[in-house]
């Protein structure tokens, strides 16, 4: 009797301990980043383009715009494809195509982001002899895709078969079951995977180095080189000049704020709609 109670108490302690510990690195990193980057954070920073070393008022507006544009296109391409593929894998999971897809998605999930960048470079940059935002978006889509697919598959595997049977009983076609019951019905769960994927891809540098390349100027043109926050941060952080290094940290703060905002806004957005499963 006591043994069970003791096990319970140990378990409680472990859970609380480990959970609190997960917040420690988050706190440390945020504190470090904000301390280093706070000094340069200003409206100037958000709305101005970069200046040379020694000149005041430089900013990263071009990188902010570039990042947002690239991520927007990448999300539109990869998230629907990923959700559909993930649903396919959980519904038709015994078919040949599903096994092949699963293997390939697994390989893509483990591919370093630089290899994805190299692939996008060879396919979209070299033939057209131009760096472009589209190539950058493709590279980021390939980063987002496996995460969305895999998490959608995992989440849908846990939906009880009764839901699908109810759909069939109502005369739904497979497509309707797919769309209404599985995807729409598990919006929040699928969204978790989507947000995880988008958060990760917004912070990736390597895929963009050889594809979107980077730009010193503000550009809205995805057909040519376009800047992005991770690349700009990387360039500045590697330079010897202290003001650029400080701006790199500030860029990091801005990037984190943007990703946080995406996280929180989408969670609010989805939890307002109804869910059709047993939550």
């Amino acid at each position: 009797m006591y043994l069970r109670k003791i096990k319970n108490i140990i378990f409680w302690c472990l859970v609380v301990g480990f959970t609190l510990s997960t917040f420690v690195p988050l706190f440390l990193i945020l504190k470090h980043t904000i301390t280093m980057g706070w000094s340069e954070l200003s409206l100037d920073f958000i709305f101005n383009t970069p200046r040379a070393v020694g000149e005041l008022g430089g900013g990263m507006s071009h990188a902010i715009v570039g990042s947002l544009m690239i991520i927007f296109v990448a999300t539109i391409i990869s998230v629907p494809v990923g959700i559909v593929t993930g649903t396919f894998l959980s519904e038709f999971s015994n078919s040949r195509l599903a096994s092949i897809t699963r293997t390939f998605i697994g390989i893509l999930a483990g591919t370093p982001s630089i290899v994805i960048g190299i692939f996008a470079y060879v396919t979209l940059v070299v033939p057209w002899k131009s760096f472009s935002g589209w190539a950058g978006s493709l590279a980021l889509s390939l980063v987002i895709l496996p995460i969305v697919t895999r998490s959608t598959e995992e989440v849908l595997k846990l939906v009880p078969t009764t839901i699908r049977e109810a759909g069939l009983a109502l005369g739904f076609t497979k497509v309707k079951i797919f769309y209404y019951l599985l995807i729409k019905g598990n919006k929040r769960a699928i969204l978790t995977g989507v947000i995880l994927a988008i958060s990760r891809s917004m912070g990736e540098t390597a895929p963009l180095l050889f594809t979107a390349f980077g730009n010193v100027y503000l550009s809205y043109n995805l057909n040519g080189p376009i800047s992005s926050l991770p690349v700009q941060i990387f360039n500045y952080a590697s330079s010897p000049h202290l003001e650029w290094q400080r701006q790199a940290w500030t860029g990091a703060v801005v990037l984190i704020i943007i990703i946080f905002a995406v996280n929180i806004v989408s969670k609010i957005f989805v939890s307002n709609s109804s869910n059709a499963s047993n939550r």
């Binding site: 069970r4 096990k7 319970n8 409680w12 472990l14 859970v15 959970t19 510990s21 997960t22 917040f23 690195p25 988050l26 990193i29 470090h32 980043t33 494809v81 559909v84 593929t85 396919f88 195509l97 699963r102 390939f104 697994g106 390989i107 893509l108 999930a109 483990g110 591919t111 370093p112 982001s113 290899v115 692939f119 060879v122 697919t149 895999r150 998490s151 995992e154 989440v155 595997k157 846990l158 497979k174 497509v175 309707k176 769960a189 978790t192 995977g193 958060s199 912070g203 990736e204 540098t205 926050l229 941060i233 990091a252 990703i259 946080f260 996280n263 929180i264 499963s277 047993n278 939550r279």
Partner: protein
Amino acid sequence: MKLTTRLEERLGISLIYICVSVVVVLIFVMIVLLFKMSFISMSKFGLNFITSTTWNPVEEQFGALPFIYGTILTSILSLTIALPFGILSAIFVTELGPKRLRNILGTSIDLIAAIPSIVFGMWGLFYLVPFIRDTLTPILTKFLGFLPLFQGSSFGISILAATLILSIMIIPTISSLCREIFLSVPVTYKEAALALGATPWEKIKFAVLKPSLTGIVGAAGLALARALGETMAVVMVIGNSPQISLSLLAPGATMASILANEYAEATTDLHLASLCYMASLLFIITMIVNSASHFIIKYFKPKAFAR
């Protein structure tokens, strides 16, 4: 506008198949392309590439073994460290924690995923590396120094640093997926456990963890895949030394890190091809790891409460 059921069914299913096929073809093209780019290196080194430990760009002798070792070591270790954190924090957020804090806590853990990998790298270099060198190493060598794992001098830049950063980075992957998995366990299981007089620990063990085991393995698989491929953060703290050493305090290298470090500045075609050969090997390793996790799922399925 009303589509007939048959037409809608056919159209929809075809679209789904097209979608999936495009994905498969795209990834297939990527793999083939990389194999093609590594041809020069494959034909020169063959399978010796996998067993050789030399990496000398000047003399154009390339071997991948130290990097394979580094990749596998950092990934598996970081997964081992991250799993308890991920699972237990998911349990806290979904089962044991106060209901009102649920969303906030969950979102906060997800925010770790929001931190860009380059920030992890920079934080690692300026904060974690000195911490390991000045604080952690003396403690480790004092208490665990008899293990070959913790011997030798340490300058902070080490496999240990890379492992720690990787484990922090993959915690949110495990945690948020596990949260969704735990939430989807039918309430009836938990009620049944409580009806039988289970303590909270026993309730969670039997009614939440056991049914979710396959899902947890899936989440772990995704996290492991991320750890295998993580580039930027590892690159800054691992030292890129092509050596195999038992000590975690020594510098090392992973396949992803050397790709990131040397791809941009690779001068000769053989150097480039060898790097691509390394990438191809990483594909194969990822495939092996994935198959292993599927095998584990298949093995555990009869034991778990099926859905």
